[in-house]
């Protein structure tokens, strides 16, 4: 999962250059596209920096890959009680740390998460 130091450095430099030098110069008609590009870079940066892929959470719990667990759930071949929900929550949180950490923080702040 973790990208090489060179790749991460390149991504970080590209993101900084884009955010500090290019994004503020964009005309209003291109700001939406510019913000989308910034968001895409954020996702790439977070993925490159992640220590392991999100589905490692599932594999550590002996549930296999996401594809394998999905198939087992379809077959109803897995205990689907609260313990599984807690593991699934950890898996989703790892995904959100990459795709939208702000959403995760806001949800936690709202108290709508993790009563376990």
């Amino acid at each position: 999962m973790k990208a090489s130091r060179t790749a991460r450095g390149l991504l970080e430099a590209a993101c900084a250059e884009y955010t500090n030098e290019i994004l503020p110069q964009l005309p209003p008609s291109q700001r939406y596209a510019g913000a989308m590009l910034r968001r895409a870079l954020d996702v790439l940066l977070a993925e490159a920096a992640a220590a392991e892929p999100p589905e490692a959470v599932l594999e550590r719990e002996g549930l296999g890959t996401a594809t394998e667990l999905a198939a087992a759930l379809r077959r109803r071949d897995v205990d689907d009680g609260p313990a599984l929900r807690r593991i699934l929550r950890s898996h989703v949180e790892r995904k959100l740390e990459i795709s939208n950490p702000r959403f995760l923080e806001e949800t936690r702040a709202a108290g709508a998460i993790s009563r376990a």
Binding site: A33, M36, A40, L69, R85, H91, K95
Partner: protein, 352 residues
Amino acid sequence: MSEAATNTSDAVAGRFAALGPWLAEALGAQRVEITGMSKLAGGAIQENWSLDAICEGGSRPGPQAWVLRTDAPSTIATSLPRAEEYAILKVAHAAGVAAPEPIALCEEESLIGGAFYVMARGKGTAHARKIVRDPALPQFGAALAEELGETLARLHAVTPPVADLAFLPVPEGSPVLHRIAQYRADLDALPGGHPVLEYALNWLEDNAPPPQGPVLCHTDFRTGNYMVDGGHLSAVLDWEFASWNDPDEDIGWLTARCWRFGNDGCEVGGVAGLDPFLAGYERVAGRKVARAILPYWQVMAELRWAIIALQQGERCNSGTEITLELALTGVMPPEMELNILNLIDMIEEPQP
């Protein structure tokens, strides 16, 4: 629809050159002069064009403010063809729903490069974030929610069979179980595995409520798909996913967190709480909505949006239509997955 940017390019003029004469014939006018056309923002699946025209004679003489709606370069399988969407619009409008007045349908694809229809242009904005962040929302949100409830109840009063909607399949048996089967098939068509969505499908199957309906559902009734003018509902848009379904599915979709645009405290699409919406709905519908069942339908809504987002992302990832907007939509499902887990936890493990 003031967001439109006027586009006067030769390509646009050429594409729509035959539109005026066609409209004149369709409306029985001596002449229809197109005085302005501009592509409206948004529309990943459909293209919407703001259309200003002047009719000479016919059934509606004088200046006209219309919208022309046709297919975008790529569509998705569950989106209805324009002719069917137009038929639904006619039924909804006749039922007293705040739907734009349907004006004319053209199924001849050669005229502008695809089938299209023309409808009245609603006033105000459909921009979801503008609506939920309007500083005046505390003053108009409750009344708007009540109007949303009233108009949705009028739509739900339409029940099968309706001859003009014979193309819409009536689900056999439980609409809920039909939905669940459809979503499993949708997941089968996507790459990778999605354990939270599979978990949610099992949970929805195990906790399915007694069947209701089917009634005519908009099936995409949410903030962003209706127009607000001066704090009031002016038009319900985007009828391409309409279906015979359980009426509570529309309510779950409107109230799910994924469609509150960050205004989480306002359960009804980020504009108001449930009370005014249900007051309007129940007064017109003449039935009580079981509040306790709404979280179930919110799980269904989050699941559905997650699957649609995956499908949108796949349109990009497969190379069919490479756009940043589609790619970013494709990374959204974990947000819906977290909402699903929170809702199921709330239902299964209620706090004292």
